[in-house]
Symmetry: C3
C-alpha cells in the first residue's frame, strides 16, 4: 500500500484526535464504548462536517476501513497506557494541538482541490481542525477549548494565511505544508505555555 | 397502501421516539410547540444524520407526509394521556428502548443496501438508534442517556453483531431482524433493571 | 450587480443574525475570533442545515464571497459600536427577531422552489429561522431562546401559515412576503414585551 504525503498527514491527524478524544473521555471516566464513541467523533468530526458542506458524500470513512482501524488503534493504545499515566491533561492538550495542525492543512487542501477562494479554504481548514474538538467538549459537557479565550481557531487562521503567503513566495508545496502544520502546533503550545490571548475589543468602563 | 416489513419497523421506531421525545419534553414543561419540536427531532434525528452521511438527499421526511403524520399522532396522543399519568419517566425509558431497537435495525439495513462493510453497517445502525436521543437530551440540557454508564450504544452494537451472526448461520432474514430488535430492547430493559454496566477500564489507584 | 428581492431579504437576514451573534458573543466577552465565529455560525447556521437536508451542496456560502463579506461587515460594525453602547441585550433581541422573520421567509421560498408540501415548507422556514440562534445559544452555553417558553418557533409557524393564507387569497407575492416577515418580527416583539406564552398543556395536579 503506497500512501501519499497528504494521506499520511490525514492518518496522523485522525490518530492525534483519537488519542485526545480518548484522554478526554477517560478523564470523565466513561465506559469502554463511551470512550470509543468520543474518540471516533473527535477524530472524524471536523472532516465529516467539511465533507457534508462541500457535498462529498457518502463521507470517506464510510467507504474504507482505514479510518476506523486508525481510531481503534489510537484508542486502545491510549486506554492501555492511559490507565497508568496521570498526565491525561497533558496528553489531551499535546495531541489536540497536533490534530489541529494536521487536520487544518487537510481541510485547506480539500478546499484548494475544489478551487474555492483562499478565504473559504482557510475557513474549511479551521473547521476541519476545530470541529472535532468542539463536539468532543460539547458531548462531555465542557466549555469547548475553542472558546476558552486562548488563541485556538486563530492559530488555524494564522497558519492558513502563512501557508498562502509561502505559496505566493513560490516556496515548494511540501515544505509550505510542513511549515503550516508546525506553525499551528507551536502557536498552540506557546499560547498555552505563556497564557497569551488576543488583544481585547472591550472598552474598559470606568469603575 | 401496502407497507413492507421494514417500512412498518421504521414507522414503529419513529412513533416510539416521538413518544419518548414528548415524554422528555413534558417533564421539562415545555410549551406545545417546544414539545412538538423535541418529539420531531428525537424521531427523525438518527435517520437524518445517517441519510446526510450516506448522501441520500433530500432526506426522506421532506418528501413524504407520513413521517410528520406519525410524529404528530404520537405526540398528541402522548400529550393527552401524559397529562394524566405520573410515570413519564417510565414511558420515556420504555419507548426510548423500543425506538433504539427498531431504528438500529433500520440503520443496519440501509448500510447493507449500499454494500458497506459489516462494521460500518453496525456503526450506521448504532447512529440511527442513538442520535435522536442524544439530540433530545442535549437540547433539554440533560446528560445524554448514552453517556450515563449504562450499556446503551453497546446494546446496538451487540444487537448488530448478533444479527450478522444469525445471517451467517443462514437464519431466515425476517426472523433474524425480529431477534435483533427484541435483543436490543431486552438488553436495555435488563441493564437498567439490574443496573449493569461494562467492566471498568480504569486501574484503581491505591488510596 | 442587480439583486432580486429575495436576495436582498437573504442579505438582510444574514446581516441581522450576524449582529445578534456578535452581540451575544460580546456579552460573554469572547475574543475577536471567537466573536467572528459565533457571528458566522449564527448567520449561516439555519440556511446551512436547510441546504444540507435538501441536498443543495456544496452549501451556497462556500461558493460566493458575498455571505462572508456581509457577516464581516455586520460583525465589525457591531464591535465598533457595541463597545460604546450598554444595551447589547436589546440589540441582540431586536436583530434576532428581524433575522427570524427574514430567514423564515427565505426557507419557505426554498421549499416552494422544490415543490415540497406546505407543511414541509413551513418546517424548512422555521428551521432556517431558528437554527442559527439555537447553535449560537448552545455554543455560548445558554438555554436556547427557542425553549424559553416564549413564542419563538411558533412565530415562524404562524407567519408561514399566514403566508400560505395570503397566497390562497390571491394576494400579490411580494406583498404577502413582506406581510409574513413583518408579522413574525412583530409577534416576537409583542410576545416578549407583554410576556405572552402559549396555553399550557399541563393539567394542574391538586396540591
Amino acid at each position: 500500500m503506497h500512501l501519499s504525503f497528504l494521506e499520511i498527514i490525514n492518518i496522523l491527524g485522525t490518530l492525534s484526535f483519537a488519542i485526545s478524544g480518548t484522554s478526554a473521555a477517560m478523564r470523565k471516566e466513561l465506559d469502554i464504548f463511551g470512550i470509543i464513541i468520543i474518540a471516533f467523533v473527535t477524530a472524524i468530526g471536523g472532516g465529516t462536517l467539511r465533507d457534508v458542506l462541500i457535498g462529498k458524500l457518502p463521507v470517506a470513512w464510510l467507504q474504507d476501513s482505514q479510518t476506523i482501524t486508525v481510531v481503534l488503534v489510537g484508542t486502545i493504545t491510549t486506554i492501555i497506557f492511559g490507565t497508568w499515566v496521570k498526565k491525561l491533561n497533558y496528553t489531551l492538550f499535546i495531541f489536540d494541538a497536533m490534530g489541529l495542525g494536521l487536520c487544518t492543512l487537510i481541510g485547506i487542501q480539500k478546499g484548494m482541490e475544489l478551487h474555492f477562494s483562499p478565504g473559504i479554504c482557510i475557513a474549511l481548514g479551521a473547521m476541519t481542525g476545530c470541529f472535532g474538538g468542539v463536539i468532543r467538549d460539547t458531548l462531555l459537557n465542557e466549555i469547548p477549548l475553542i472558546f476558552r479565550k486562548e488563541i485556538y481557531a486563530s492559530a488555524c487562521i494564522i497558519g492558513g494565511l502563512c501557508y498562502y503567503g509561502l505559496l505566493y513566495l513560490k516556496i515548494e508545496h511540501r515544505q509550505a505544508q510542513v511549515i503550516c502544520i508546525v506553525l499551528i502546533v507551536l502557536l498552540r503550545v506557546f499560547v498555552v505555555k505563556y497564557q497569551l490571548s488576543l488583544p481585547s475589543v472591550y472598552v474598559k468602563k470606568p469603575s
